[in-house]
Symmetry: C2
Subunit: 372 residues, 2 copies
């Protein structure tokens, strides 16, 4: 007879070192149900779980039950799912609930959901009574590897995405890998795009590892997922740790995002998932790196093959008759552009990233070569 109680591996931990705002990312299976997950958080009269109408029926009850052992009152705020609801109106529903329940400055918020829930809950925590503590419980792969580190919180404004927000750190991040099993395959692939990103910009050994384990990741095997999430968070922490307020180095995390944002904006947001656009954008950025003479042809091909194996598109969509001009136009209005100059994140054969501008003619060639 097998004793299953000892077969479960202890969760991995990534420590994010930010002085008095330091916190841990816990990565493992069965975490939502495990009392140890929620121990050690500050006590308060009330806890409030913020989630969405897709995640609430799957995991809401479980987290309420777990938290009820530690907080006398646990409320749940259910927001509508989707990027189009990342608005002031949704944010205000959180504030309404907090005030109606008489929540004080010690109230703990828990963000149970994907990136949208995490961004909004984090921003609500940053602003409510000028700051209450919060815990991230990301339920998508993208949120686990991307939103767990960096402290970026925000809502959208009708005139721009993520325009209103704050840098605000959680007390803890709980990445339960079990919840990824309920993710549609397309969303899992989109999350893998942000995982793959960390290889070429910072760690070629991780790129090797991803090539060996891509099938296991797509099958949601916990050991492989745990390592992928852990290593992604570690690399992001190394980069962000040197640049918490996004003044320079952190820009390398946008590898694939400049082309990717153009794809998203050009097709209309929601047509391709963010991760799909980033996957394809990485192929384009790698191709540009090659044309700029810092990445070998085999380096480009290697990345293209891995992105394809992750279930992601590797050929860009045609956005207009004069396709290169449309891409360039969209990239020039991106928030990251400075005075109209597009800053590309390029990678080299040594696994280093470089932020550079590039001649329009060369970029146009890359767009022609990489699109339908």
């Amino acid at each position: 007879m097998v004793d299953t109680s000892i077969s479960k591996a202890a969760p991995a931990q990534v420590r994010i070192d930010l002085g008095e705002r330091s916190y841990s990312i816990v990565i493992g299976t069965g975490l939502l149900n495990d009392a140890a997950t929620w121990q050690g958080l500050p006590r308060a009269a009330q806890a409030v779980i913020v989630t969405n109408d897709r995640v609430a029926p799957l995991y809401g009850e479980r987290v309420v039950r777990a938290l009820s052992g530690y907080y006398p009152t646990v409320h749940t705020v259910v927001l509508p799912d989707g990027e189009q609801h990342k608005t002031w109106q949704s944010l205000n529903r959180i504030f309404d609930a907090l005030l109606q329940q008489g929540c004080d400055r010690k109230t703990m918020l828990f963000a149970l959901g994907g990136g949208v829930v995490g961004d909004m809950t984090g921003f609500a925590a940053a602003c409510y009574m000028r700051g209450v503590p919060f815990v991230q419980v990301p339920t998508t792969l993208l949120a686990q590897v991307d939103s767990s580190v960096g402290g970026k919180t925000a809502i959208n404004h009708p005139l721009g995405k993520n325009m209103i927000g704050a840098f605000y750190q959680p007390l803890k991040v709980v990445c339960d890998l079990d919840v990824l099993k309920s993710l549609p395959g397309r969303e899992l692939s989109a999350g893998l795009a942000e995982v793959i990103k960390y290889g070429p910009i910072h760690d070629l050994a991780f790129l090797d590892w991803l090539e060996k384990h891509m099938e296991e990741l797509r099958r949601c095997e916990p050991t492989a997922l745990a390592y992928a999430v852990q290593r992604s968070c570690e690399i992001k922490a190394e980069v962000v740790g040197q640049d918490e307020r996004e003044s320079g180095l952190r820009a390398i995390l946008n590898f694939g995002h400049t082309f990717g944002h153009a794809i998203e904006a050009g097709l209309g947001y929601g047509e391709w998932l963010h991760g799909e656009a980033v996957g394809c954008g990485m192929v384009m950025a790698a191709t540009l790196s090659h044309r700029m003479g810092i990445l070998s042809d085999s380096g480009v091909e290697r990345l293209r093959a891995l992105i394809q194996r992750a279930g992601l598109p590797v050929v860009g969509p045609r956005l207009a008759e004069d396709n290169p001009s449309r891409y360039l136009e969209l990239m020039r209005v991106d928030k990251k552009a400075e005075a109209g100059e597009i800053r590309f994140v390029l990678v080299d054969d040594a696994g280093q990233a470089h932020v550079r501008s590039a001649p329009d003619a060369l970029v146009a060639e890359v767009i022609n070569a990489c699109c339908d």
Copy 2:
């Protein structure tokens, strides 16, 4: 012939020491027109002045002109005047303007107005693209002595005042004493309430000084005003410097505010000015300090006389048939109350403040003794 260029005193400076978020409060006359006031701020493509429809016609043009020497484009956002406009809707008008003008992360905001403009502009600066720099240019005495230090920014929510906000520090605070001449006398007196407060809680020598110079202050004599503003900011800085995130000590700055908030809420906000309610609230808090045995009768009388000389009410309004019960009820729902226990700021004969609870019966006696 008198050389007026040397008759003007150099502005006083109070340095607020907060590590990399340190800044200076500059206090003097003619500052809005003086190029030196605006020198040394970070350059940017755009500056945005946020003000209200009362202040804009008086000083807007002057500040636009002064800033135009340093910023290629200077926009002005004019909000409606008044606490009732300290809302998300007004805040969003700032965001709309920033986005419509294509303002980037280096855009400088200038808050030109009283506390409402300062609170909203500061919060807008804290949130726009997750933080842009801002400068406070307070145009009321209350804002000069109260909002210059502490980094509190906020908007109101329909269910509570200042419920949504951030701690966010300005790059500089410019207190031009000339602008106080256009203040109605009632508002000047209201500002003096917050000035007087700093004596009994922290500095009896300042209380002596105020007794000697109250008439000059009410006549807006610049030398007296400069010292009053400077010393108030210094004392607030000393208190806040030890407690930036409002965990304990900072509560002593609420001397007079517990009773004062009950007066404001009981009469309906706007009936008495905040400073008027605080002035009267200080008389009540001093009386309670006496009944609690830590302040002499002459200590109470001294404070009452000074508050009266500042043009402030010293007798509390009757709020209900059973007046003490109504005051107690209102004080129990105050944001500063903890689990329904009212925390009073009391003062002693040595010029020290103490945060204490008090028996309801004793508080009721004080209310009876101090009200109409």
